[in-house]
């Protein structure tokens, strides 16, 4: 295994003048320019958010959603704070409260996820003992005009439908 010696370019006088190189480069860029000007449809740019990427696998982590209980379709979350504890971005705000309907003892009164702070690591999903939070919504583009648009509250998180087979919380 010897060292491969590559011949260095630019030895001759003609090459040292760089005229050929300069005009060659200009030709290349002009070719791109004219081609794109005459037919813009070849440009690979996606007009996000009107056009959305199509090549994302379902395993990709999307926007969070809160699952429901299979028995009565109520919120599965018991406000145990495991997701908030695991969250490295501290983007989950929970305020717990007593649950009055007899299904369980505890539920979140406020459950906000600040998607601007979220790093989409999925630790909250891993931490949840009740399978109450998932990232299988299939929403990979979060779009909004204001900062407030990116804070998803309990109602919004509950209303998002999942794309996986199991719609309800699998916790027993």
């Amino acid at each position: 295994m010897g060292i491969k010696v590559v011949k260095r370019h630019g030895g001759t006088f003609l090459e040292k003048m760089y005229v050929q190189a300069v005009f060659g480069g200009m030709k290349t860029t002009l070719k791109h320019f004219t081609a794109n000007l005459s037919d813009a449809s070849n440009i690979p740019t996606l007009c996000y958010p009107e056009q959305l990427p199509t090549d994302i696998t379902p395993r990709y982590r999307g926007v969070h959603r809160l699952t429901h209980r299979k028995s009565d379709d109520s919120i599965a979350c018991v406000a145990c704070f495991m997701c908030a504890t695991a969250c490295p971005a501290k983007c989950i705000e929970i305020v717990a409260t007593e649950r009055e309907d007899g299904v369980d003892e505890k539920m979140p009164a406020i459950f906000n996820i600040d998607l601007l702070a979220c790093v989409f690591c999925g630790y909250c999903v891993e931490a949840c003992p009740c399978d109450a939070i998932r990232m299988d919504s299939g929403l990979y583009s979060v779009i909004g005009d204001k900062r407030e648009d990116f804070i998803y509250d309990k109602a919004k998180l509950l209303s998002i439908k999942g794309i996986s087979k199991e719609e309800f919380s699998l916790a027993k």
Binding site: M26, T29, H32, T45
Partner: protein, 420 residues
Amino acid sequence: MSTFLILLPLILTLLFSLATVPILVWMERRVAALIQDRLGPNRCNVNGIRLGGIVQSVADMMKLVFKEEFLPSHIKNKFYYLAAPSIAFMSSFLTFMVIPYADNVTINEQTFTMQALPTDLGVLWFLAFAGLGVYGIILGGWASHNKYAILGSMRATAQVISYEVAMGLSLVSMLITYGTISLNEMVTYQSQSFFIFPAWGIILQPLAAIIFIVTAFAETNRAPFDAAEGESEIVAGYHTEYGAMKFGLFFVAEYIAMAASGALIVTLFLGGYQLPYLSTQDLINHFELVLWLIITFAAVTSLLFLAWVKKHNILVMNGLNETKIYTTVIVGFTLFAIIVMSYYALGFGNASTVGVMLLQFAVFTVKLFFLHFLFIWVRWTLPRFRYDQTQKLGWNILLPLSLVNIFITAIVVVGVNYGN
């Protein structure tokens, strides 16, 4: 009245140079995008109207204007800090003042020069104020009290000072060729023919043209000579510490300087406002024929443009239907222009002098924008020179070349005149 006539061209030139800036910025971004297989800015809109992205430049300018004027606390010399962008802006604007946009117009026995300042200093004026622009850079860098800024300003200053020499010398050979220093006379000279070619500077003096264009790139700190604001090593160079409209002035100054250099190159080497082979007198004499040609040209171009717009304006914003409005406006405007031109072309009225003036102005503008395209094209093709390479190119190659060029030109000119 006379004061008004003196001020009017000044104000018109100021407006022209200021109006080119957003268009230049837009061109810069869209051309760069197309060269790099992207789309460029196409979102910013006023009720759905985007004008192909020009609205984005206007929005950027408005942002700069309305941003908070921020003065860093470490600035000790506030006066110099604030004066620097104004100097840069003023001097680059003043260089624009001597460019002739059209041939002299004679109306009612009165001759109007189509220059903002009716001076015959021409090229010298340009050199003088391009040189003064250095103070903006020096002061900006020095008053910023920042290592990046001072490094950038030293690079820019050294580069401008050294390339001024080669620029001046390449100009000398053009002066010898044209035998005049007045820009207007130079343009008139270029309406002649040289064998079968138009006697444009770039054909008579290709070497001087190349040297001048290269030095013009360096004088305006454009790529590939923009080591003065090499982002990878010195952040933004001499305007690192500037924000809001103070930065905006530097920014506008850079683009106006670029526009002025482009205009000078057009005037010196590309026949200025002249159409090839056609002198002003020819145009005036055959004005009706010219009008018919223009009418045909306008109709074909607008149809082609409309077809292009229809094909490519796919992304629809909220608000008005953009394509429809463009179609209406362009068709209406073209029809109106054709009707007006036909009125004169059919011989109902005589507006040949003004018409030729407008035509020449249009020709000049088209050439100017081609030059801007060249500037942008080069910027997005060539990599940045290292600082020592810049200096080496200036002193070791361009300076001797331009000296040699002067000698050859002088010998040829003397020889030709001797023969006569």
